[in-house]
Symmetry: C2
Subunit: 285 residues, 2 copies
């Protein structure tokens, strides 16, 4: 099928091209301000974390979903995909704060509050979160498809908010640590999985996927997101007792994820998503 | 004119009825969870600040704008108006944090982080901000008017974000204090005015106001928002040198605000907005 550009050996090139597009959107839509027009160095702080080198996995996932089910080349789709990175980045800045995980480094660089101070790090996070919804609403107006981008905003808010990622953070910081594998997986689903699912849903909605395709892609995102966190646990010293179970469960979740793709209207277009699932499954501790 | 229910002596009753509706929306749409399903007491923390007694001035303003120019009784309008309170409340929680203004009390009660800890206060704020955009997107889908609620979301994001309220916060915390009256007024416009303007725009867009009426209402919101902060300065010991000028400028801004209402398609429907402007103008130090 002509659109299956992302499967097999072309996958790396496809993902690299998408990452470059995402970097361009992030940098150009949040331009640097002259120092005397950037009070408190707020924009500089937002750009410092947002433009730090990263895999951009969540927006790439969103674009892979858009390719699988919709009009992947609409300019608004790229903007919509980028909003997931804004939200991911805000969550990292707030997570690193002294009152939260208290991390001095992120991606090999001093964390945001170590450079700009705690107050500005809180505000930079607030600004990035708000910007995500500004971009989605703006894309909805410009594209003339406000309903589609409204569905994307709803998916993002649900995945990122107090029933999703923020709930996972609250559980991680404020509730007893998980003792069973099931409790650990619930934490993964909230803290990490919810935003992965939202990424896939955003790609689907923004690209105009049918309701059936969007639902199938959401099932993929759900399973992929939890599998991603299990993969992370394979080399996580915090939960060594769960490592074997995590490997097993990761495999089962990835099987479920790819099975969801078979129910798409054109399963052959899901090459990029299949490649992402394969890459995750090949991860070794 | 039949719709002019809010002018004159009926104003107090009108505003009280709107406040009661807003309270009901806030409480019922963010229901308490059983303690064992509220990890970290996140939802309890969000409700603690959101449901603390308040004037609900911003959502009342949004509803007054909706009455002036649109279909004020659409259920989505009430939800949209309430989202401004979610954003106002998040900003208060984050402002009170030790790294920001370090306030132990808010509205006569211990501030959020004094009760729930800093980490949960950060997350409660994040959750409330995200919830605002969830409610707007949800109302857009349910009402079948996603373009109108998309415009409301755009206005909220612009007013609340790094070009509006968050920029004002960054200026207040990270830039030299204002020395001239003009600098003080710019700070007011960003820190307070931008969200007032957004409130009026949200009411206009969500209720289906025409572009011309929405623009006139935005001019009202702009001027009213800055005047509101000048009124606050009348009894603010921080800037005694500016008190006389603030009184003068407040009067000029309120004149400009009410003049904007004269260009509405049906100026007689703006009784509630005029009453709000009058009440502010009558404020004594």
């Amino acid at each position: 099928m002509a659109t299956e550009v992302a499967a097999g050996p072309d996958w790396q090139a496809w993902a690299a091209a998408r990452r470059a597009e995402i970097e361009d959107v992030l940098s150009s839509r949040l331009p640097a301000l002259p120092a005397d027009d950037d009070p408190g160095r707020l924009i500089e702080a937002m750009r410092y974390s947002l433009l730090a080198p990263g895999k951009r996995l969540r927006p790439v996932l969103a674009l892979a979903a858009a390719e699988a089910a919709g009009d992947f080349r609409d300019a608004g789709v790229l903007v919509a995909a980028s909003t997931v990175e804004l939200v991911h980045c805000y969550s990292l800045i707030h997570d690193d704060l002294p009152a939260m995980d208290d991390d001095d480094f992120r991606r090999g660089k001093p964390s945001n509050h170590k450079v700009f101070g705690e107050a500005m790090a809180i505000l930079a996070g607030d600004g990035l979160l708000t910007l995500a919804f500004e971009w989605l609403a703006d894309a909805g107006q410009r594209s003339g498809r406000p309903a589609a981008f409204g569905r994307a905003a709803l998916a993002l808010a649900r995945g990122a908010g107090a029933a999703g990622m923020v709930r996972g953070q609250a559980r991680d910081l404020g509730a007893p640590p998980p003792t069973s594998f099931e409790q650990l997986e619930r934490l993964h689903a909230e803290k990490t999985g919810a935003l992965f699912r939202a990424a896939v849903e955003i790609g689907a909605h923004a690209s105009g996927a049918s309701p059936e395709d969007a639902a199938a892609l959401a099932r993929f995102g759900d399973a992929y997101g939890i599998a991603f966190q299990h993969a992370d646990d394979l080399d996580d010293a915090d939960h060594p007792e769960h490592a074997a179970r995590a490997r097993q469960q990761m495999t089962a979740l990835l099987t479920r994820a790819t099975a969801a793709l078979d129910s798409l209207r054109e399963p052959g277009r899901a090459g990029a998503l299949r490649a992402l699932a394969t890459a995750l499954g090949n991860k070794t501790p």
